[in-house]
Symmetry: C2
Subunit: 326 residues, 2 copies
Amino acid sequence: MSASSLPHAIVREVGLRDGLLSIKTIVPTAQKLEWISAAYAAGQKEIEVGSFVPVRLLPQLADTAELVAHAKTLPGLVASVLVPNFKGAERAIELDADAMLIPVSASAAHSAANVRKTPDEMIASIAQIRAARDAAGSKTFIEVGMSTAFGCTIQGDVSEDEVIRLLRAALDAGAERVGLADTVGYADPAQVRRLFEKAFRALGTQSDKLTCGHFHDTRGLALANTLAALDVGVRRFDASLAGIGGCPHAPGASGNAATEDTVFMLERMGYDTGIDLDQLLALRKQIAEWLKGEQLGGAIWRAGVPKSSARATPPMASFSQQAPIR
Amino acid sequence: MSASSLPHAIVREVGLRDGLLSIKTIVPTAQKLEWISAAYAAGQKEIEVGSFVPVRLLPQLADTAELVAHAKTLPGLVASVLVPNFKGAERAIELDADAMLIPVSASAAHSAANVRKTPDEMIASIAQIRAARDAAGSKTFIEVGMSTAFGCTIQGDVSEDEVIRLLRAALDAGAERVGLADTVGYADPAQVRRLFEKAFRALGTQSDKLTCGHFHDTRGLALANTLAALDVGVRRFDASLAGIGGCPHAPGASGNAATEDTVFMLERMGYDTGIDLDQLLALRKQIAEWLKGEQLGGAIWRAGVPKSSARATPPMASFSQQAPIR
């Protein structure tokens, strides 16, 4: 079976942004450039390279502009940046980033702690950003990541209806794509399936704009939740190489899904991610040297790729044929 | 919703056997007794307490007889022991263990390395053990764990047809229950679903005897594979507290599914495991002290139980209604 006949899945690298956010070691720009180039060479076609936030708040991400410029030299690479406010969006538009990701916390408490705004104030920002983007004739894609969609360390429960209301509002305000994020690692697979399915139904003709699952491994369920989302039709996942990641306002929430383990699972199940796992593991080794002393995650780097072949022919066997709703 | 109205799932503790096998620290019998009592108090009703193998080979498991005797004082606890041969089975019968687990490697290469027998010689042992058990009027239950069912570090691929042939042969030889084990951490969720479904179909009226999934986290997929098995109807899982485990003949295969993370996932999804996660985490803390310096696994012990409530009402939502085949 040729690669092109396999179903595709996208693993977006968020290690340079969500990952490094919780890493004390300041990674020099030269190393980040090398990371982006190597990830691209390994086949990663979507990379969140940084964030436009005040440098005094996040010195780790101060070189985002330079990273965007570098990413733009790599043909076909979609470089996204996180923009928590209008000012950040202006920078993204000005630098012609391929995409900007606006975080909207479904938890009001997390939203206040993270961006000092209510979720609805964030929705208003989206409309403002969309207007500015269109007025500038810019092509910078607007994506919204719905943070704490599965629960919040500050507030506890987050209402599913509120998540769906905000997803709709984000799209109405001009977001071109939305995703659900388990920012603090509270999600379980049943909840992931339920909320994504509920959201797909609620969004109706716009359901194709809900495309991304963002899971943290805080309680060990990142890959089980990835599988759950895959089962209901999600084909785009955020992940951090070496499983780095977290959120300063979500205690204990360290650890995005590890890119290498996510790619291994998807490829092994018969999905084409376009990513070369050996090259990815070589890059992980490099990054582990750069981040010496930091807590890293992921599992497959230790044991290596199996000696047995993947045997998913036909892809996903009978199971997926019942499950996906899109 | 009362606990009793929830679907049940069983997590069998195998840390004392499969787990300690790869741990250098010799755990004193007193600590093992405490472990068993505390696990029982936390609600674990099935515990693999040890193995009847030559003491010179596995000094770590030399006190199995004492552990079986202790387990028998705890009402309702099902204590199982691993028996790799007829001699071990005789001991299990003599000591009136509740159950004995006979490992049969589906990989001929692994079988040779692990027990110096072919898979079919192991099948012959089962028949011999069953005859001895019945002749003794013993009630010791006979279970077969099909090792390397998803691939082998020595041999590579393992044929699914061979796995199914051996499952059938094991039942024909007198095994009363069988399970599939990913001894070396090669399995992916698509493969897990495919092989279990294929086996359920092949076993026909005996499919209710295939009940157990045994997954290693070597490549990070233990919980995703647990979810995959759950989706196709498996309701019994092996796991090790603190994710200890491995196999001396399977390089790099350290790390069973962590009991605490498995219980968290199942309970969170709406399954009743009968296990109190807080008590389990307290025991994990104790064991981590006993095993100081050893590599432990698992994730939830670090971050703790979520502040948000589980919201799986009804259990498993719509998804599971499509999937389970039994």
